[in-house]
Symmetry: C2
Subunit: 375 residues, 2 copies
């Protein structure tokens, strides 16, 4: 038996033409350890958008003439081509995670037959996905595919932040942008685990949302007295680690400076080299692709700015930790790790210019879910 369905692919050629296409693919029988899952829900995460659109210029989007398959053409400006040199000419499937129903199972995976599962591993923007049984987790009774669609990246990232902070000896955390699905999960984890969290948002609506789930430290970076309030919040909580998905500009630098100012309030802590309090900024996304501006004046000499990536963190954390985190996600799927979507679209809708532009805005609070059965 075989399963025929659509699969979304993104290809950049050496001239900078990026083609998005919905290809017909045929899946053969699953191997002994494999299952075939009918995809019912798959989220649009920033990391998916990076793969889908690369550094393309979204002001010109054109459907190619005379094409049979659903297809769309974008252009990557020459200056940005170097950043994607490693993927030139490769037809890349998209979609890191999703959920659906097991429609076929190999010999060792028979127990999963007919079950609804969450899964992780790429190529989820498709009607069907064949996948190793170890990469799927059966959903709790009553959980929908939408509930399970985002049970890997955001939950494990939020849990990974808390594990990282603990392992590196920090007692409180700063997070931005804090009102995202991930940010809400992080706030719920921190409340449950007793870890003070300083949330930085960009609007009063986002602040209100976070307060409604129990956040006590919520700062709007657009407020005039933001720097002072941030320093106060950092001093009150003792936060010395921050996670930042914005990346570009000077917010990360501002956070480190607030930590240094807070540390310098301890009498005797100041020297001409700054305090000895170690301050860590992790950049885990790139919502703003502009360069990170690190103003070292008044920052001292005890700080680090590093990249944080789930796919680098998990192997370092080790299988025992990963298993513990996965179990917590499954146990608290519809509470701590509940995700919210503002719009559900079909697979073919991804090839619409206005949808792509909405993806590219990466606005906090705007979150897409793809349900291939919608078309």
């Amino acid at each position: 038996m075989a399963w025929v369905g659509r699969e979304l692919r993104s290809t950049i050629d050496k001239n900078g033409t990026l083609v998005l296409s919905l290809d017909q693919v045929e899946l053969t029988e699953p191997g002994d350890d494999e299952v075939v899952v009918c995809v019912e829900a798959t989220p649009v995460n920033p990391s998916d958008i990076g793969l889908l659109l690369g550094p393309a210029d979204l002001s010109h989007i054109e459907p190619p003439e005379g094409s049979q398959a659903p297809c769309l053409k974008l252009t990557v400006p020459p200056a940005r081509l170097g950043a994607v040199a490693g993927r030139i000419g490769q037809s890349l499937p998209v979609g890191n995670e999703g959920a659906g129903t097991v429609v076929a199972a190999g010999r060792n995976a028979a127990a999963l037959q007919g079950k609804r599962v969450g899964m992780y591993g790429g190529a989820m923007y498709a009607d069907y996905r064949k996948i190793n049984m170890r990469e799927v987790i059966p959903l709790p009774d009553g959980a929908s595919a939408a509930d399970g669609a985002s049970m890997f990246i955001n939950p494990l990232t939020a849990l990974g932040f808390v594990e990282t902070a603990r392992r590196e000896g920090h007692k409180a955390i700063v997070h931005t942008p804090a009102a995202s699905n991930l940010g809400q999960m992080l706030q719920r984890i921190c409340l449950a685990d007793g870890i003070p969290l300083v949330n930085i948002v960009r609007s009063e609506e986002q602040a209100a949302l976070l307060r409604s789930i129990g956040a006590t430290h919520v700062l709007n970076s657009k407020d005039e007295d933001f720097a002072t309030r941030l320093t106060d919040a950092v001093a009150e909580t003792g936060a010395t680690i921050a996670f930042d998905a914005i990346g570009g500009g000077k917010l990360g630098s501002d956070i480190l400076q607030a930590m240094e100012r807070a540390a310098a309030r301890t009498p005797g802590a100041y020297s001409r080299y700054g305090t000895t309090v170690f301050k860590q900024l992790y950049i885990y996304g790139s919502l703003d692709t502009a360069p990170t501006m690190l103003d070292r004046a008044a920052l001292g000499y005890a700080w680090s700015v590093s990249a944080w990536l789930l796919f680098h963190y998990l192997p370092k954390a080790g299988p025992d930790v990963v298993q513990r985190l996965r179990q917590r996600v499954a146990d608290e799927l519809t509470t701590t790790f509940a995700s919210h979507y503002t719009r559900t679209i079909g697979l073919a809708e991804v090839l619409q210019a206005d949808v792509l532009r909405a993806f590219d805005r990466k606005a906090t609070g705007e979150k897409f879910l793809i349900d291939p059965s919608l078309g």
Copy 2:
């Protein structure tokens, strides 16, 4: 008995006036564990200049009217005052290290009487310095005060780089600006210890100087093909750690990108999140006080940019390591750790506007030594 001499001090008041003055101070008898050293040579390091001049504007320097003592007034622009808030109103002695002859010794330090020693601990821009015996090291026979004046900061920093690189699992190092006294020491250490070193300089003269002491990888950042050559040198050596005293601008980012490009040459190493090869940039100075510009495009998600400071490193390294490093400096003082000075000045000359401006240029290859006996 008492020793009366001059001591250079730097004071910034709350209005931003920075006063440099040569004060008369009187040193009393040394305690049991102390010695009094007649200072014969003390270098002008970037860290000294930071304390001496703060973020003052050197375009206006005026001698204050009617002052008795040698004295000079500078102005710190209001926008830069926040960076030195912790030192406002404090009269700070200057000069991290130096060398001289022990003219008085406490009971437990009697063996040092009459000896020429190198020493570390601040307030060295003075005629006399009273100091704990544990902060001095007797110079080898035949070594001059100039030989021993810089036996702490640069040698221990260069050795600290190599220790840090080894401890963190790196097999080759990138350094900039590489032609400094510190850079030359680092090259000699790396040659002795068999660690490949990629030197980045800003002129052909500096490149020639480094080659003359055995450097094989020397790159001029002003060359048009610098980025390509840096990538090649990094690929050839396997360098994944860099030490940078410039700090401002995009050179640090360029170095990390070269490391990432070099790592991506390994077939299969590329993914859309970059390679998994961890790249570390340490900023250990601030010759350029402008913000660090970190261009994260094409950098992947396995990197860290951190501050490196000798005074934070040594306590972390522990007393055994520090003792081993100090011993190596003493053993190789006039070879590996030889320092070169382009100009020797008296203590009073520090209060001359043209001398201060020469300090502030922080030009590689221009290095001042102060000999208080010259006036």
